[in-house]
């Protein structure tokens, strides 16, 4: 696929995943009605919405502190500054995002902040040491692409939705265990069975959708980055180096995994993880490199099995 086709396809798949999300939420709501009837269902809906808003607001301040990032000045890291400024100009952002550095030998980078005005990007000292200028340009363009595509907000929303779904499912499960489902006896049994299945499957389905969404947005950010720099090969080379690198990242938790240029949770022994990668936040690096090769018309050697020789 060409660059523009890849961007279009990623956008369409995003819409599809979001649609499935809505279907899932509708299912859960239906299950609540079957079990509790309208009155209690409404109370639970209010609790869920309240929880969702709280989680969304609280999620804003977590990242920077959790990852040990510190702000950096232009004099300290001129090259990093330039690459970020250039990518921001090419993306048409009104202001260059704030720039942070993380003292960590593992090469990685992320973008955060829900609006482009409040956005910031961070890079580890490891990635600055590992990449040359052209590669760093690709990586920072990928982060700026996340900012421009509003991915942080989208992924925060997805995480909050999964949280809400899981919470409701938990409550329903408790209710069935303690026989609280006062309407369940005189309703038709097929409805009840579907409702129970929905309770059990909804959180898993939500998590699957969240990860699928994250992977779509990674592909989109790669394609957008290629558009911003006009150089898909720079990013592909960077991803190749990241694939071969062996440093594990120190400050990592599952909640922020989707923000990084490559998955900080990646098992360094296998590039393609188990369960067909369904629970991964990032597509396999080889697949991402392949797509960049397709749009740029160049060829890198395949990533050696096991990640690296060392």
């Amino acid at each position: 696929m060409t660059l523009q086709e890849q961007i279009r396809s990623a956008r369409m798949r995003t819409v599809l995943v979001l649609f499935l999300f809505v279907v899932l939420v509708a299912l859960v709501v239906a299950a609540v009605y079957v079990f509790f009837g309208q009155g209690f269902g409404l109370i639970m809906a209010l609790v869920a919405v309240g929880y969702g808003i709280f989680a969304y607001v609280a999620a804003g301040s977590i990242v920077a502190s959790a990852s040990g990032a510190r702000p950096v000045s232009k004099e300290e890291a001129p090259e990093l500054y330039r690459t970020v400024e250039n990518a921001a100009i090419a993306a048409g952002l009104a202001k260059t995002p704030d720039i942070y550095i993380i003292d960590d030998a593992a090469p990685n980078a992320f973008a955060a902040g829900r609006t482009p005005e409040k956005a910031y990007v961070a890079a580890t000292t490891g990635i600055l040491a590992l990449l040359d200028r052209r590669e760093l340009e690709g990586v920072m363009a990928h982060e700026i692409a996340h900012v421009r595509n509003r991915d942080v907000r989208l992924m925060t929303l997805a995480a909050v939705m999964v949280g809400v779904i899981s919470m409701i499912a938990d409550m329903l499960l408790w209710a069935t265990v303690f026989g609280g489902g006062r309407n369940s006896n005189n309703q038709n049994p097929i409805g009840a069975i579907i409702a129970i299945a929905a309770i059990i499957l909804a959180p898993i389905g939500g998590a699957l959708l969240q990860m699928a969404l994250s992977r779509r947005r990674e592909y989109l950010a790669d394609a957008t980055a290629a558009e911003l720099t006009g150089d898909p090969e720079g990013l592909a080379r960077a991803l190749y180096k990241l694939a071969v690198d062996q440093h594990p990242l120190q400050h990592v938790n599952r909640a922020t995994a989707h923000l990084w240029i490559e998955s900080p949770l990646r098992d360094h022994h296998g590039l393609r993880s188990s369960v067909g990668g369904l629970f991964d936040t990032h597509p396999p690096l080889q697949e991402r490199i392949d797509r960049l090769q397709e749009m740029g018309g160049f060829q890198l050697p395949p990533i050696p099995a096991g990640g690296a020789e060392a």
Binding site: N86, G92, E227, P232
Partner: protein
């Protein structure tokens, strides 16, 4: 019977109005983005124009007799500052780039000059500015491409003309080793 017809007519009118508003606003947004892209190019061109006098001075100190190179750069800078239309700006941009290339080639011949810290700083600043001009160009051209496509494709083209949304020109420089938005098409 007649109420049904009225409701249908009303619904059609609402849909058409809604489409009109959305399409119009979409075109306005893209046109503003293109405008913003052009000013972003202007800012970087201005930044380069500001660097040129210092650069010329620095080289003059070591190579005063290379008159032709200085004159070319100064003339190109004047053209760039006078340019008002996008086409003129792009032409002056290309002229400045090739003139600066000539000037830096002259500087290459003077090792003492390349050892001067203020000169190397200027040179780094210049290459940074060149990168930023390229980035601003890419943004502008990407937006113009989206704008032109939208404004020319059906059904937006029906209202684009009457509401005064004409096509916009791309920012193109004549000589060009520059990396443009990727157009290479390779099928897997």
């Amino acid at each position: 019977m007649s109420t049904t017809v009225l409701i249908i007519i009303g619904a059609v009118i609402v849909v058409v109005l809604l489409w009109l508003v959305l399409t119009y606003n979409g075109l306005v947004r893209l046109r503003n983005e293109a405008q913003q892209g052009e000013s972003s190019i202007d800012i970087q061109l201005k930044r380069r124009a500001d660097l040129i006098p210092n650069l010329v001075e620095a080289v003059k100190g070591y190579a005063a007799h290379e008159q032709e190179a200085f004159e070319r750069v100064t003339a190109a800078r004047a053209h760039a500052l006078e340019a008002r239309t996008l086409g003129d700006k792009a032409a002056a941009d290309g002229e400045t780039r090739s003139a600066l290339g000539g000037l830096l080639a002259v500087a290459e011949a003077y090792p003492q000059l390349r050892a001067v810290e203020s000169f190397t700083l200027l040179q780094a600043e210049l290459s940074d500015t060149e990168d930023k001009i390229a980035a601003a160009r890419r943004y502008y051209n990407n937006v113009v491409q989206r704008y032109n496509t939208k404004q020319q494709s059906f059904p937006a083209n029906v209202i684009a003309g009457p509401f005064g949304f004409g096509p916009r020109e791309f920012y193109r420089i004549e000589d060009d080793a520059e990396r443009d938005p990727v157009k290479v098409e390779i099928t897997a």
